[in-house]
């Protein structure tokens, strides 16, 4: 089942992205990069499961790193796109 989702999602990805204009290559990359921070979901569970100290430390570190990825990624993309929006 998971494999099916994986393959279908890759197809969806290719279908959506094939015709992206060069102007948007950088924002697309940093925006999609922010989305790859979805690992945050797993990190939150790992940090809060209260299993062992080691697992909690690893989880908390993962939350920090994934959050930097998510927050930094979306914000920097927005900053870039705001520049594209302005038209003189």
């Amino acid at each position: 089942m998971a494999l099916t989702i994986f393959v279908l999602a890759i197809f969806v990805g290719f279908e959506i992205i094939t015709k992206v204009p060069p102007t948007l290559h950088t924002p697309l990359m940093s925006g999609s990069n922010a989305i790859s921070g979805i690992t945050i979901v797993g990190a939150i569970i790992a940090a809060g499961a209260g299993h062992s100290t080691l697992a909690t430390i690893l989880g908390t570190l993962a939350v920090i790193l994934a959050t930097i990825n998510v927050v930094g990624g979306f914000l920097v993309t927005d900053r870039m796109l705001q520049m594209f929006k302005r038209k003189s």
Binding site: P21, L28, T67
Partner: protein, 460 residues
């Protein structure tokens, strides 16, 4: 406590928002909204996860979220647009590292049964995540131009060493998959993959950097997808594969733009050019000109094409370029920009810098479009670009850049090359364009040169 089914629905909603968000990012008009849509999807996914039945304590989560948010926000708001490639590389690496840590925590918490798909996914997460993290850190160091990393570290047997590291990492993974309750193998795999990440990116030089950044972006997505398999979580699999697909597409575009195979870029196969010695001969007929002389060209010009390269970013010349653009347009001259796909250090780097100074994006033309009109162009200004305008790509089949599509500025009536010296570009080959009969060299720092040019045009 809200029921599990609600959380699953929230994840489904988040996945849909990610797909819509990325779709939005493919058109200039919908891009801002697309990015916000993706961010909303992430917020929903995070909020839903906080109600997950597996979570029994919250203080570590809250601490992590606060620390990460502050660091991420500071990074994102402080970074200069010219430093964007490094920033993206760094964020990529963090995503990869997070995947490694989540898979590790999961392995400690509930070791999966031996030889299960979850065990396989755990080790895939280790390999991809660690390669992404260390590869991205090294890419960051290279892009930041730290002295120690400017030149690749040379050692023999580059590719065989990579192959051995890869095989060892796979071998240790197989042992780990056979007995996931021995977490030692996991860390062996992480260690081997970390070294592999460094040795893979080490030989890759400046010109190939856009490809590496695109590729690492793809890896960070695949790492997230692998973690999704570990956790059996669809939202991770879906968003991870979306990112993986987008990264591969961009990688492919960059490779095509350089006429390089993905394999050669990946494994750092550098063709050594033999032409370097002939530079003196190539440059015998170089003509240089002053700002005043060049300013006169614009008295009669009707169309000007500016071709920016990484030199423009280094010199922070984009603001001066905007002034030149406005000045020329105010005199009724049509000004267009020719953007090569691999100009700069990441895909679309030049577009971002020009957008920063509010050059309308319909003035930015792609390779084919600009080449079609260059023979009806009066002045082509090459600003800090080298290899992307080198005619050797078309004429010399033995050149390291042979077959690479270039911006054919030599077709313009006059070419002005703004450059500090005749030093070769990343490909390390002389450029016969600089000695062409219709080329004028303007030796100066990119920003200084454009400012002087603006002043000279105003005076003339």
């Amino acid at each position: 406590m809200i029921p599990e089914s609600v959380i699953v629905l929230a994840y489904l909603l988040a996945s849909v928002l990610f797909i819509l968000g990325i779709k939005g990012l493919t058109h200039p008009r919908t891009a801002v909204r697309g990015n916000l849509t993706g961010a909303l999807g992430m917020l929903i996914a995070v909020l839903a996860t906080l109600f997950h039945s597996g979570i029994i304590e919250y203080h570590w989560i809250i601490l992590g979220l606060i620390v990460g948010s502050v660091m991420g926000a500071v990074l994102a708001l402080k970074v200069r647009m010219t430093a964007m490639p490094q920033m993206v590389a760094l964020l990529n690496g963090f995503g990869g590292a997070a995947s490694v840590l989540v898979a590790a925590a999961e392995l400690i918490r509930t070791p999966p049964p031996p030889v299960s798909d979850i065990a396989i996914a755990t080790f895939a997460s280790a390999i991809i995540g660690a390669v992404t993290f260390w590869g991205s850190l090294l890419a960051f160091a290279k892009l930041q131009e730290y002295k120690a990393f400017r030149e690749p570290i040379r050692y023999p047997l580059l590719q065989p060493i990579n192959a051995v590291l890869g095989i060892l990492a796979l071998g240790a993974s197989v042992l780990g998959v056979l007995d996931p309750s021995a977490p030692g193998w996991y860390w062996v795999v992480v260690a081997l993959s970390s070294v592999l990440g460094l040795t893979l990116v080490n030989p890759i030089g400046g010109a190939d950097m856009p490809v590496v950044i695109a590729l690492l972006n793809s890896y960070s997505g695949l790492a997230a997808a692998a973690t999704g398999f570990v956790l059996g979580n669809a939202v991770l699999i879906i968003s991870g594969s979306l990112v993986g697909a987008s990264g591969i597409i961009l990688t492919n575009i960059m490779c095509k733009a350089m006429n390089r195979s993905m394999f050669n870029v990946l494994f750092g196969v550098l063709q050594e050019g033999e032409q370097a010695a002939k530079a003196d001969e190539v440059y015998r007929t170089v003509k240089s000109a002053t700002a005043e002389e060049i300013a006169m060209l614009f008295d009669t010009a009707r169309r000007v094409v500016i071709v920016p390269g990484y030199g423009m970013a280094v010199a922070q010349a984009q603001h001066a370029v905007r002034d030149l653009y406005h000045l020329l347009e105010s005199r009724g001259i049509e000004v267009l920009f020719g953007i090569h796909p691999v100009a700069g250090r990441m895909p679309g780097h030049m577009n971002v810098l020009l957008a920063e100074v509010e050059i309308p994006y319909d003035k930015l033309k792609e390779l084919d479009e600009i080449n079609a009109i260059l023979n009806e162009t009066d002045v082509a200004i090459v600003l800090g670009a080298n290899d992307v305008v080198n005619p050797l790509a078309k004429t010399d089949p033995k050149s390291p850049i042979a077959g690479m599509p270039i911006i054919e500025v030599d077709k313009a009536k006059t070419v002005v090359v703004i450059k500090r010296s005749l030093s070769p570009g990343f490909a390390n080959i002389p450029n016969p364009l600089f000695a062409a009969p219709n080329t004028l060299m303007f030796f100066a720092d990119g920003k200084r040169a454009v400012l002087d040019l603006v002043a000279a045009i105003k005076e003339s």
